[in-house]
Symmetry: C2
Subunit: 372 residues, 2 copies
Amino acid sequence: MSSCSVGIRDVAREAGVSVTTVSHVLNEVPSARISAETREKVRTTAARLGYGPNRVARALRSRRSGVLGLVVEDVATTPHAGRIILGAEQAARARGYTLMIVPIPGPAGAGAGPETGRARWETGFESLQTGVESLLGRQVDGILYSASCQRVVQASVNLGRVPAVLVDAVAADGSFPAVVADEYNGAGAAVDALLAAGHTRIGFLNSADGNPSPHRRFQGFQEALKRTGVRGASGAVETASPDASGGYAAARTVLAARNPPSALLCCNDRMAMGAYRAAAELGLSIPGDLSVVGFGDEELIADNLHPGLTSVALPEHEMGAWAANCLINGIESAAADAGANQLTGVPAPALLACRLVARGSVGAPGTGMPQR
Amino acid sequence: MSSCSVGIRDVAREAGVSVTTVSHVLNEVPSARISAETREKVRTTAARLGYGPNRVARALRSRRSGVLGLVVEDVATTPHAGRIILGAEQAARARGYTLMIVPIPGPAGAGAGPETGRARWETGFESLQTGVESLLGRQVDGILYSASCQRVVQASVNLGRVPAVLVDAVAADGSFPAVVADEYNGAGAAVDALLAAGHTRIGFLNSADGNPSPHRRFQGFQEALKRTGVRGASGAVETASPDASGGYAAARTVLAARNPPSALLCCNDRMAMGAYRAAAELGLSIPGDLSVVGFGDEELIADNLHPGLTSVALPEHEMGAWAANCLINGIESAAADAGANQLTGVPAPALLACRLVARGSVGAPGTGMPQR
DNA sequence: CTGAAAGCGCTTACAG
DNA sequence: CTGAAAGCGCTTACAG
């Protein structure tokens, strides 16, 4: 297809019309009155020549690049960012846009890794601003900023004078549209599934990372229990580091109580992985003696644990797509009414539903049925 | 900084020089003879005005966009792709280039996931070609194609008339430069570490996925044993699905042998995770009774297993960076000698060293020292 | 040492 | 219904 050298003027010459006409028919300009015959001729000629528009030239002239900047944290540590990228890219492509990606370190500042021998990355804030500058210089039409755990981004970040949308993050001052997962109800759904399986004593392994997400999850957990009038949350909550060792320690503590829970909701799948180990050490089979539900649906963990870990999936794909569509709407409406070039009337962050992915770690309580 | 509206002509007017001069000093054009005084004036004026070049205009005129297309498989399943993106992006940025990313489904064709309600993705081949077309229309200067497991890409793929480089993949006919991990020696290093710890009977859990990578790893394993004159590979090799259940089954088989190995090298970390479970069921502590080494250094698994899994890390970051640099070299040399616009003299795929990441799963054999 | 002018490939008023 | 012309913001021969 698109042989480098064939341009709009080649099509025009070949079809015996002006470049204006070619541009009009290929872009389906509404105001252009062109005979069906001419349209057809132009189209077939363009196809025959393998014409593809030069988006760079178009961008320069129309002042619209059709490129969305995506500043994304932690692209190399978990699949979280990758899923968001995928959702955003598909939505953008469906509307004729392309993504330009700038990975930056997350707040932990993990960065390039010691093996590279390179200097440490700049801090997150610096590289965010650097990334935005570079994106703006490339004339992106808008910017997506993807973080995690619903992190609060400071009002001081400058995402430029183009429209911008936050993914899995919220603006401290609400100055940007944002989309996050409805983790509150996600946790509620997990509790409901556990209640439906017959559990009445349900423990919660909370994360100590201080992010908004674990807090939402814990609230959802508490409210779901309260709603159904089941007592059991009391005393069965432990907070620990958000990894397997934290989950292990928390689970050991919770399960050592006088009247231990028969099910555990964990703040993430790594903690759940620790809970599995605690259960194994205590001779508790899953789900025979203990049901476990994780959060995040990290397939690498959830699919490879035995039994598979039932987990609350974050709608990362949908969040990416929602954000891209929201951004494009902002871009195109700003183009329509030449007045505001910012998204206006920013509402509260959009909440997208979580989904409970059932694997094998939830069962009826107290059957004591030994595994395998 | 870069206020949208300030252009080269604003700088020129303000500094009292021509746009030609501004362009020359800001781009440090070698052939331009300009007084130090004028240079200084232009630079300060540009800085004062917050001038930033419009890369789109520059791209149109100079026929060089400064954008690298990155077609990347499986961005949402494991961190493999993310690490490659990170390496490529840093190397590209260091040389003034930006990445334009097109995620495509891997050969497994996992795709968008059922939760989206969208149509299934096209097959990998279609979306590869679609992605390349779109990148070419955006005037990228070159294309990076990132796969995994050293997959062989068919000669029929059309990466356009721009330079292209393969990452963790090789061209069937050697028509593209490529970079892969030296997994042969990576496996060798793992065996060496095990031998150094005193093991003489080492099992290998092979992956049944048929990709080149597991094959290289197995060869490296065999040769390393042969090299040291230690027998033990024989009979202690099992092939299974490349996940935890495969690893579990293979480990059970291998460990049930008459003279079971005291150490296991696993084709990936998921299989190693299965081996942990097998060991636990058999009452074998790690590393007291059994040492385990994984492959891939998936931190989500390796860091959260107990004890931490020693694993052979793939140099993904370096592969991404190597590929980006190789591509940019090709682009810039093609620009220099206006003759060839393809990378010429394509050598064998570059091999980048793996690194053994020691955690806690390797110890001296037969100590039988109980865990914790 | 410096600048006037052409032109990259398109889109967009505007004129007929 | 169709086309001639200007111009997006730069870079690049080329002339002085």
